[in-house]
Symmetry: C2
Subunit: 254 residues, 2 copies
């Protein structure tokens, strides 16, 4: 049995809890967090505490808190001999170097409160301070996911940066598309099959080969007409910069 405690009560903590709960060889010892209301939503009152002096012994402490809180929260675990692992894409493993055994357990996914996730498909990127810590975290990962990868801190930070482009920025483009539709009384739903197909294409081709549109074709007339249609200065800047980036990718001049 792997005895696991989760420190944190946010979306990552909640989704990890649900995944560990189903895992056969994982026993959840405790969920620890300051937010009592969030703790109560785990539905296991006897195993939760908001008092950091009451943290029980576990094999692994999974610190699923915001990047800026990792340092302060992990200090509360300094007396423990269990492995302390954070779940952050952006933070180095060395943030936890005061601990005897430490590592990283980073699920590369976006988690929302009410959105169910098939955790078996979520890539889990693990890093350990020693080979045996790596082995323990890989074992924990393989209990909840089919996609477990040894990834060092630099690589993980690179993945996190890529993730900002393909997830955060992409979602923001969806927001702009939605806003343009709303401002013109058009249902955003009309664009959803197109959005799905944009992603579907990645199964059979690269984004480089999948690129279409006026910037890719060098269709100046449409580019100018789109710039004129846009009301917001910031949206115009985004349109212009991304069109330029597409054109320089394919060696066309604006």
């Amino acid at each position: 049995m792997l005895k696991v405690s989760i420190i944190g009560t946010g979306n990552v903590a909640k989704h990890l809890y649900n995944a560990f709960f189903k895992a056969e060889i994982v026993e959840i010892i405790q969920v620890v967090g300051r937010n009592k209301k969030a703790l109560s939503s785990f539905g296991i009152e006897e195993k939760t505490t908001s008092d950091f002096s009451e943290i029980e012994d576990a094999d692994i402490y999974v610190v699923a808190v915001s990047d800026s809180a990792i340092s302060a929260v992990s200090q509360k675990l300094e007396s423990k001999s269990g492995l302390v692992a954070h779940t952050s894409g952006a933070s180095s493993i060395e943030m936890l170097s005061k601990h005897k055994a430490y590592g990283v357990f980073y699920p590369l996914q976006t988690f929302s409160k009410d959105q169910k996730i098939d955790f078996r498909k979520v890539p889990v990127c693990v890093e350990g301070s020693t080979k045996s810590n790596m082995t323990i975290l890989k074992k924990l990962g393989s209990e909840i996911s089919e996609s477990v990868h040894e990834v060092d801190s630099e690589q993980r930070q690179t993945l996190h940066l890529s993730a900002v482009f393909v997830n955060n920025f992409t979602n923001h483009l969806f927001y702009i598309g939605n806003k343009i539709c709303e401002e013109n009384q058009l249902p955003f739903d009309l664009l959803k099959p197109l959005i799905e197909e944009t992603v579907q294409k990645l199964k059979s081709t690269t984004p480089f080969n999948a690129q279409t549109g006026p910037a890719r074709r060098g269709d100046q007339e449409t580019l100018i007409s789109h710039m004129e249609q846009l009301g917001s200065l910031q949206d115009k800047e985004i349109y212009n910069l991304l069109s330029q980036s597409i054109q320089s990718t394919y060696g066309k001049k604006l």
Copy 2:
């Protein structure tokens, strides 16, 4: 029976041909195009021609050519009494106003050569020069799609602009994410579950509510670290501009 001829041999023409071919009350009269090799790929030699003087009578001519060719190509149809419709998102219906009967038949989707599409889910936006032409195009649309919409030229141009944001620009962000992975010997596949979830979320929430990430949280440390990690000046500009746009959307200051 609706007698339909397709003018053009590109991806849109090919996908429309496949959809019309399956439709019960549609008879494809001809496929017309200058490119003989492309014509031969339709596999119906007896019904294709590259000689525009050989265009036979049809009820509807679907002009599926690039925006810049619509005007020249449709001139070849001026003697015809059938309804002439282009398939462009960006071009006004008035491009065809020299014809007796004209309209627009715009499938809002991205079409690739080798990618199969379930046309029944593709939104088809139709516009007719008269009510009866609208009715004819709606009938043609409903033969191949469950999602047919009356959309005027201004609305269609707005949809097309939104489509550039959610499809062309999104795909370019995938390209940048892929490039960053490749430059660091990381498999882009690790990001695909995240990309799928980004789109999946749109089924249950708005892009506004789905936004996560360092810009949304106002996490300056990660924003600065990401900027430092980026090698390309253009990627830095994109990172900066999109982060600013997210922050101004949520009323946070950089």
